[in-house]
Symmetry: C2
DNA sequence: CGAAACCCGATGGTTTTAGTCGGGTTTCGA
DNA sequence: TCGAAACCCGACTAAAACCATCGGGTTTCG
């Protein structure tokens, strides 16, 4: 049960942008400086832009910025953008598959897990992460 | 963010065995009857056996049985056996990777998510699933 | 105008997934 | 004793997903 690198890179990038909020657009270069392959990161930021989580400024001196306050960007939104929605079983999507006895208790379990994981992800935001992190250094915002 | 079919098939099989607990060993044939490819299922049951979750009886009239009471078999144990432990980021495994500022708040988030998901999985057992399921029909045990 | 920077579709190598295959070994029962 | 039923197991494969890389396009600042 592993997360792909997309989710991880996406969160790194978003957290970086949250830390540099208000400093103008951040170039791909600077975001990638922490070790994410530049061209790959470009793709990922495209996903985040299409999901409405970052805005871009094109042209020279352009770059990326978060589109909302850090408190309003949840991990759920980021992960949905990067990895697609959680889907533990296609039985959740295509109900016709599920011709099992007992109203498929297995299905109920998938539902329960999906809900609780989504709830967990929705409860963490870039804002809360900034708070948890070096309170002495990040006094702004 | 998807679960592979292994986790799903594994849970189906374990739930089936829990339902037929006390009826003697269940053959691969009968477990696979619900639509899982027989030979593939055989592999998966091998994993469950090596993880100590099922016991087998070889030879004619042999088959598979759960090795403990349904209440003692959690989804966490099944998923660990089928998909390996949850690993949201290799940063959790190989600490040397993590040379980030602020003691890596991203890392803290992974830790928090891993813990809560494991807790959730540990809280669901085959026993609780049997209870949730058609109480009118499954009066035994 | 030209350099900086984002945009985007196509491609390629590697790994994982989802099975399949073929040949074992064990055990029951006639 | 023997054969069929059943599990055991390693090797193989096709397809998908993942993780990029490439090359060219567009936009904008100075």
């Amino acid at each position: 049960m592993k997360l792909s690198t997309r989710g991880k890179y996406g969160l790194y990038a978003m957290f970086y942008l949250a830390q540099h909020q208000g400093e103008g657009p951040q170039s791909l270069q600077s975001i990638a400086a922490t070790g994410v392959p530049r061209q790959y990161l470009e793709q990922l930021l495209g996903n985040l832009r299409r999901a409405g989580l970052v805005t871009t400024v094109r042209g020279a001196q352009g770059g990326y910025q978060i589109s909302k306050a850090p408190q309003e960007i949840s991990l759920l939104a980021i992960m949905d953008a990067m990895e697609g929605p959680i889907e533990l079983s296609e039985c959740m999507v295509d109900e016709s598959h599920c011709s099992r006895a007992c109203a498929c208790p297995v299905r109920n379990v998938w539902q329960q897990l999906t809900n609780s994981f989504n709830r967990e992800l929705a409860g963490i935001t870039l804002g809360s992460m900034l708070n948890d992190c070096c309170e002495s250094e990040a006094l702004e915002v």
